[in-house]
């Protein structure tokens, strides 16, 4: 996202020079195309609202007077012990223990966004590093790294992630969030690295790399100046599409009780804990499921939009990479 805010300032013409000689960067062109994609812009707006919703979580807690981990057996549960539905005190209802669903959903949004973005960024950093190294250096290093990525892709990732979480038996919220991020990144970097490696292999054959070499540029300079900038479009698209996958991964782990630890709510753990009372308290299913779906759908639409904007000729149809 930061690249786009950066672009905004670049679009303003430099006053000293006439505008016509200022070449428009590929990013500027992409931004122009992106703005015309109504679906992508709409999902960007939805995600911005989601960020606001998550950022203001303490504020919701303050306004309602319901901290996310506090139970209110008297006001939130009816005499038979059933949670109350959406209403004046509990805007989105209460859960089976008498906690405020709205406040918990807001904190859950924080977890989803933080874990999703952090894991995707971490995975892309590792993926780019490994992919560039393998593709550019080549030789035995390439063979080893490529095999390593193949093996990682062949692992039953959910099971290994569960195993990792149970052997570490983390109890603190911060540690469990960090572990979740690392686990997701570990299982996502390989697919990323494989694509980057392929890109680097084809870039390496380009004449402008040879030209840089003939000018006397070293490997590091070529990687930084000539290879990486040509990967950025691909990296942006892949990272944006990795975010929803990571969010789903986190929600699944938390749903099974091996993701983010209690008492910190996550949309996944909210769905897991409430599943016994869905029949009577539909909002316990509807609220987190809707938010989760909205977020992943928006990120997917955003990713598709970014891809179309960065690669206008690109075939939207070619599916899994």
């Amino acid at each position: 996202m930061s690249s786009f805010t950066e672009l905004d300032s670049e679009i303003v013409p430099v006053d000293a020079e006439p505008r016509r000689v200022q070449g428009r960067t590929p990013w500027q062109l992409a931004w122009t195309r992106f703005r015309r994609d109504r679906l992508a812009v709409a999902s960007l707006v939805v995600l911005a609202l989601m960020v606001v919703f998550a950022a203001l979580a303490p504020l919701w807690a303050h306004w309602t007077g319901h901290p996310y981990d506090a139970t209110f057996p008297k006001t939130a549960l009816d005499p038979s012990g059933q949670p109350v539905g959406p209403g004046r005190h509990f805007w989105l209802g209460a859960d089976q223990l008498g906690r405020d669903v709205l406040v918990r959903a807001a904190y859950g949004a924080r977890i989803s966004l933080v874990v999703g973005v952090a894991a995707a960024v971490l995975a892309s950093v590792i993926g780019v590093a490994v992919g560039v190294l393998a593709g550019f250096v080549g030789g035995v290093l390439d063979t080893v790294l490529a095999r390593m990525m193949d093996i990682t892709l062949a692992l039953p990732y959910l099971l290994v992630a569960i195993m990792l979480a149970t052997t570490f038996q983390l109890t603190s919220v911060a540690a469990s969030v960090s572990l979740t991020i690392v686990v997701i990144a570990f299982f996502s970097f390989a697919a990323f690295g494989r694509i980057i490696r392929g890109q680097v292999l084809s870039l390496r054959e380009k004449e402008f790399i040879e030209a840089a070499r003939s000018l006397g540029a070293g490997n590091l300079r070529i990687m930084a100046v000539d290879v990486l900038p040509n990967l950025m479009a691909q990296v942006t698209v892949l990272t944006s599409l990795l975010i929803p996958t990571s969010i789903v991964f986190e929600a699944t782990l938390s749903f099974l009780g091996v993701g983010v630890r209690l008492p910190m709510p996550s949309w996944g753990s909210m769905l897991g804990e409430g599943s016994d009372v869905f029949q009577t308290a539909w909002w316990l299913l509807a609220v987190p499921a809707f938010l989760l779906l909205l977020t992943t759908l928006s990120f997917n639409l955003l990713g598709d939009g970014i891809r179309d904007a960065l690669d206008p000729r690109g075939d939207r149809h070619s599916g899994k990479k």
């Binding site: 869905f278 539909w282 598709d304 599916g319």
Partner: protein
């Protein structure tokens, strides 16, 4: 050909060895003592001592590692210290349910994905195609456990009240088999149908753009024949490859579906073990499923190389 098979076989062994080593390393770098991880949170001091003796935890790490690999080679996946049986026995009881689940879901997602994919590829950019694209986006954005929860809520709660027995919980598997399995199948297959629609559509569009397809059209072959006989045949190759890989990997992803629908399969076993802190079961299942995945990949690769000799050279 033989060299290729041997190479792939060695590679599979390498993967298994790496996963086993990974498990060992996880156990030993965990901040929790190994006997506590194995024995679970409620293990008594006697049990802990017994585990220490069984695993030889007082011996050097390298000896422990050797014994760990040795046990695995003999097919000993370890014992559950919580209910006292061997992991292999636990898995054996639960495996049929999971295999049925995966097989049914596999049929649904493969047939569903290919049919929808071909439909949308032959009507590229039309209204039907747009609808399919929307479905794909929603499908790819829906976590399987959310799909399962929503299906369960809609069909068993709402329609159940209306007297439509779409779903019945509880054993045994043989009774009302279809009624019990249909929702889990759909829940498990939903995301994959979307993924395979996208995959098939892409492969079909690629193939239909090829010169030989245009030649076939120019020769006056009927559009139907072009699409199904000439196009689909070559478009299916990458789809089938992916299918083999995913089918193996899916065995590990049945956990949420089995939990939601209360199916007593391997996934349920894992879920119950998470709650009990029964780590040996989780480790054993992980290793076994890895074996399944590796075997599936091996079969796909070798089968594929029979069909397409280019694979062997790469």
């Amino acid at each position: 050909m033989l060299r290729f098979v041997i190479r792939r076989l060695l590679y599979s062994v390498l993967v298994l060895w790496l996963v086993a080593t990974l498990v060992f390393v996880f156990l030993h770098i965990s901040p929790v003592p190994v006997e506590r991880v194995i024995g679970g949170p409620r293990a008594t001091t006697d049990t802990l001592a017994q585990i220490r003796a069984n695993l030889g935890l007082d011996q050097p790490v390298i000896v422990q590692y050797g014994r760990f690999l040795g046990r695995l080679l003999r097919g000993d996946l370890g014992d559950s210290y919580i209910n006292g049986t061997s992991v292999a026995a636990l898995v054996r009881d639960r495996l049929p349910t999971t295999l049925w689940l995966v097989a049914g879901a596999g049929v649904i997602w493969f047939v569903g994905g290919v049919v929808t994919g071909v439909y949308s590829a032959t009507r590229a950019r039309g209204a039907g195609d747009r609808l399919v694209t929307l479905f794909v986006l929603i499908g790819l954005s829906t976590p399987p456990f959310v799909m399962a929860l929503v299906l369960l809520y809609l069909f068993s709660t709402k329609l159940g009240e209306a007297g439509v027995p779409f779903f019945e919980a509880g054993p045994p598997l043989q009774e009302h088999f279809l009624q019990r399995m249909i929702l889990p199948w759909i829940a498990l297959a939903f995301l994959m149908v979307a993924a395979y629609t996208r995959l098939t559509r892409g492969a079909m569009l690629d193939v239909l753009g090829e010169d030989y397809i245009r030649t076939a059209r120019a020769k006056g072959i009927s559009p139907k024949r072009v699409v199904y006989r000439h196009g689909l045949r070559s478009a299916l190759t990458p789809v089938v490859t992916q299918f083999g890989i995913d089918l193996g990997a899916l065995i590990g992803s049945t956990i949420v579906t089995e939990k939601v629908f209360g199916l007593q399969g391997v996934g349920q076993l894992v879920y119950q073990s998470i709650n009990l802190g029964d780590t040996p079961v989780i480790i054993g299942v992980t290793l076994m499923v890895t074996l399944f995945v590796v075997l599936a990949n091996l079969l796909v690769d070798v089968g594929y190389s029979f069909l397409d000799p280019r694979v062997r050279l790469s």
